[in-house]
């Protein structure tokens, strides 16, 4: 079975600085992988490279069967990314934002109502312009976009930030549901207590490379309840 993400000796530059310095990383289809590491380790850069937003200048980089060095933009419609910014238009309301994002990605608008319901975006909230929402509510709208789009690869950058306890539990359900539907999920996180319970595997990054890798015994959380995870294997890479 082909990997969902395959990076070998991949290098990506920001200006002249190598934010990915020959990284080796493989992610299987249906896997949930957590990326850990200090600030500047390259977690966000891995996600942006996998989305085709950060050019890979050397090495091997194939995501969902697309060679990122040849056609970096080809993978984008199959990828959903939740970044530090919500990527929403302040002047549009919740429904308009989600509808635009789904239609732009070539998706069906049929699932939008269900996605908004799932994220608790109901009633008058749906007609509220996004500029008037709280940070947590904006995060929920951005998540609703992903739920409605059903991307094959979810790239979540600090997904728990700004979310309350209920929304964090819901995020766990959503990620679990996405994987059950065949998606692959990469999570960059500084909150191991929130992200590791969701994951099959965790890798630690430093200086744009993988330095440590752990296989986790993932215990699928009940809806709304994230349980603890036990480390069952560890590999020191560098």
């Amino acid at each position: 079975m082909a990997s969902a993400v395959s990076l070998r000796a991949a290098v990506a530059l920001t200006g002249r600085f190598p934010v990915l310095a020959g990284i080796d990383l493989t992610v299987d289809p249906g896997e949930i992988l957590v990326l850990e590491g200090p600030n500047g380790a390259g977690k966000t850069s891995v996600l942006r490279a996998c989305a085709g937003l950060l050019p890979v200048t050397s090495g091997h980089a194939v995501v969902l069967g697309h060679d990122l060095r040849r056609h970096p933009s080809a993978v984008r419609r199959q990828v959903g990314m939740l970044g530090h910014a919500a990527a929403l238009y302040n002047e549009l309301n919740v429904v308009e934002n989600v509808r635009f994002a789904v239609r732009a990605a070539g998706g069906s608008v049929d699932g939008i109502d269900a996605a908004l319901d799932r994220l608790g975006l109901v009633g008058r909230l749906r007609r509220t312009t996004v500029g008037r929402l709280s940070a947590g509510q904006r995060r929920r709208v951005a998540l609703a976009v992903l739920v409605a789009r059903h991307p094959a690869l979810w790239l979540l950058d600090e997904p728990h930030a700004a979310l309350d306890a209920g929304a964090r539990a819901l995020l766990g359900d959503i990620v679990t549901g996405a994987v059950a539907g065949g998606a692959t999920v990469l999570i960059a996180s500084h909150e191991p207590e929130a992200s590791l319970p969701l994951a099959h595997r965790a890798v630690t990054l430093a200086g744009g490379r993988v330095t440590d890798e752990r296989t986790l015994e993932r215990r699928v959380p009940d809806p709304g309840q994230i349980e603890s995870t036990r480390v069952v294997g560890a590999v020191h890479v560098a």
């Binding site: 989305a51 085709g52 937003l53 970096p72 933009s73 984008r76 419609r77 990828v79 959903g80 990314m81 970044g83 530090h84 910014a85 919500a86 990527a87 929403l88 238009y89 302040n90 002047e91 549009l92 308009e96 635009f100 994002a101 239609r103 732009a104 990605a105 070539g106 312009t129």
Partner: protein, 224 residues
């Protein structure tokens, strides 16, 4: 491409309808420019009528800079530019959509400015066809160049000052041809002058920049 263009144009126009930045800020600015020129030219009608065509297009150009800046400011906030890139929309469709939205806003501004020219300067239109064709071709050209250079400046920290610096020299042919065509249409140009060559120049300019935009917007978007 056309589907993507409609989607992007619809989104930009919906945002404008909601925020009314062009209507409440850019349009008054353009009308104030016309009024200030009228004050500067003094109480005599003759120089105002003679300068009306050129001042109309200068005001359109200034207003266009603001409309383009507004259009790309939408994509600079809250990571929406990355969102647009990630959507997988055809870059040519994004270019045409943003240009179409700017063009619609320019048409509204031009109607207001044309009324201002008649009101403040006492100009009379002799050839409505020339006025309309010049406005249509000029609008298309300005929107295309504006979108192209807006994307080019979008990724730069000093984009607010860079855009006019890049944009205004490039659209000098629109200013020149538009002014000459309008002079003919208003009957204020040199005797024997015809609007046709100027209108053709404006049409060619618009066609060239629309084609360049469709072909190059993708790389520009990635590089910005």
């Amino acid at each position: 491409m056309w589907r993507d263009a409609l989607l992007v144009a619809g989104k930009d126009l919906r945002i404008e309808l909601r925020s009314r930045v062009v209507l409440n800020q850019v349009a008054p600015f353009a009308v104030v420019v016309l009024a200030l020129f009228a004050f500067a030219l003094g109480p005599n009608r003759a120089p105002m009528v003679e300068a009306a065509a050129g001042l109309f297009w200068v005001a359109v150009l200034f207003a266009c800079v603001l409309a383009v800046q507004r259009s790309f400011a939408l994509e600079a906030a809250d990571g929406t530019r990355d969102g647009l890139r990630l959507s997988g929309l055809d870059p040519a469709g994004i270019f045409l959509g943003k240009a179409a939205a700017i063009a619609v806003q320019l048409v509204v501004l031009e109607v207001l400015l044309a009324a201002g020219v008649v009101l403040f300067y006492g100009a009379h239109v002799h050839s409505y066809v020339a006025v309309l064709v010049a406005c249509a071709a000029g609008t298309a050209g300005l929107a295309a160049v504006g979108t192209l250079y807006g994307a080019l400046a979008a990724g730069v920290r000093v984009r607010e000052t860079l855009l006019p610096f890049l944009f205004l020299p490039v659209v000098a042919p629109v200013l020149l041809a538009g002014t000459r065509a309008w002079q003919v249409a208003l009957g204020t140009g040199p005797g024997g002058d015809a609007a046709d060559p100027w209108l053709r120049l404006m049409l060619v300019f618009a066609a060239v920049y629309l084609a360049v935009g469709v072909l190059t917007f993708g790389p520009l978007q990635e590089a910005g």
